[in-house]
């Protein structure tokens, strides 16, 4: 960018262009979304298959989600270190995802302690909240679609018996996280290679 005399219109254009560049700059590594999309899909599919296999150890497959918190912390730390800017809404987004993690943990605890059947519709509804919020707030359409898909699947799951409803959980994980994660990853790698 070179210095030149600006006209009033050019000044306004420049302001709009720069603000839009910063606002549309949702650049994440995509690793968290890929990891969670992959893990939830895997666990849901294993649960579905296990309703036919009836192999006891596979009942604990969802424990994988607790262990996945460790790589998640590592990814989050690394991403924070790599980031070249901080947005005004970064803390808000972190808060939303932390609330989501707390809600999922509590739901699992309540479900296990009361020996309730897995409330798939409730899980899908909760999945949609941070996904839609992130997509809407960051203007990232794949996550907006993913969030809405979670809610649509939540409605469908009320008409679908277990274990078939588990397939909705797998589909939601793909639509809400895995596919947006792939898009984010591709975008991130493209941007990184451009700056090398």
């Amino acid at each position: 960018m070179r210095e030149k005399e600006l006209t009033g219109q050019e000044s306004l254009q420049l302001i709009t262009q720069m603000i839009s560049r910063a606002k549309n700059d949702y650049l994440e590594t995509g690793l968290s979304a890929l990891m969670w999309g992959g893990i939830i899909t895997f666990c849901a599919l294993v649960s579905f298959l296990n309703s036919y296999l009836k192999w006891d150890p596979l009942h604990f497959i969802w424990l994988l989600t607790f262990f996945a918190v460790i790589p998640q912390i590592v990814i989050a730390r690394r991403e924070r270190k790599e980031r070249k800017h901080r947005g005004h809404d970064d803390r808000l987004m972190s808060g939303i995802w932390l609330s989501f993690a707390a809600a999922m943990f509590l739901m699992s605890y309540i479900e296990i302690s009361n020996q309730w059947p897995a409330p798939i519709a409730v899980y899908l509804t909760i999945y949609g909240i941070p996904t839609f919020t992130t997509g809407y707030g960051k203007r990232f359409r794949p996550m907006v679609i993913g969030g809405i898909a979670c809610w649509a699947l939540a409605v469908l799951s009320t008409f679908t018996p277990y274990p078939w409803s588990m397939l909705y959980l797998a589909a939601a994980a793909q639509l809400a996280w895995f596919i947006p994660g792939l898009i984010l990853r591709k975008r991130y790698l493209k941007e990184r290679n451009k700056n090398v």
Partner: protein, 96 residues
């Protein structure tokens, strides 16, 4: 022609920098360079001018043994930017 507009902000690169910094909480020098496509030398000069005017804060630190410059708009910078946009609108006679 533009005598009423803030001369600090009425410059292409400085206006671009302030517009970027108003949209984020804080940004590294490399981010600003990337977004404005400016040269490192020119960017440093304009950042210093904005800093001297009190419109931005500049923090220098080390990250993984590499020097890092972080810029952040000040409340004074926000007010100056808002006034600049207001003046620009009245100059162009744009009704809000």
């Amino acid at each position: 022609m533009f005598k009423d507009l803030d001369p600090i902000l009425h410059s292409q690169l400085r206006l671009a920098l302030v517009s970027l910094l108003i949209s984020v909480k804080e940004a590294e020098f490399t981010y600003l360079k990337e977004k404005t496509n400016a040269t490192a030398g020119n960017l440093s000069v304009q950042i210093n001018k904005l800093k001297e005017a009190g419109y931005i804060d500049v923090a220098k630190q080390f990250k993984d043994n590499y020097p890092q410059t972080i810029c952040k708009i000040t409340p004074q910078g926000v007010l100056a930017f808002e006034q600049y946009v207001k003046d620009l609108h009245s100059y162009l006679d744009i009704k809000k």
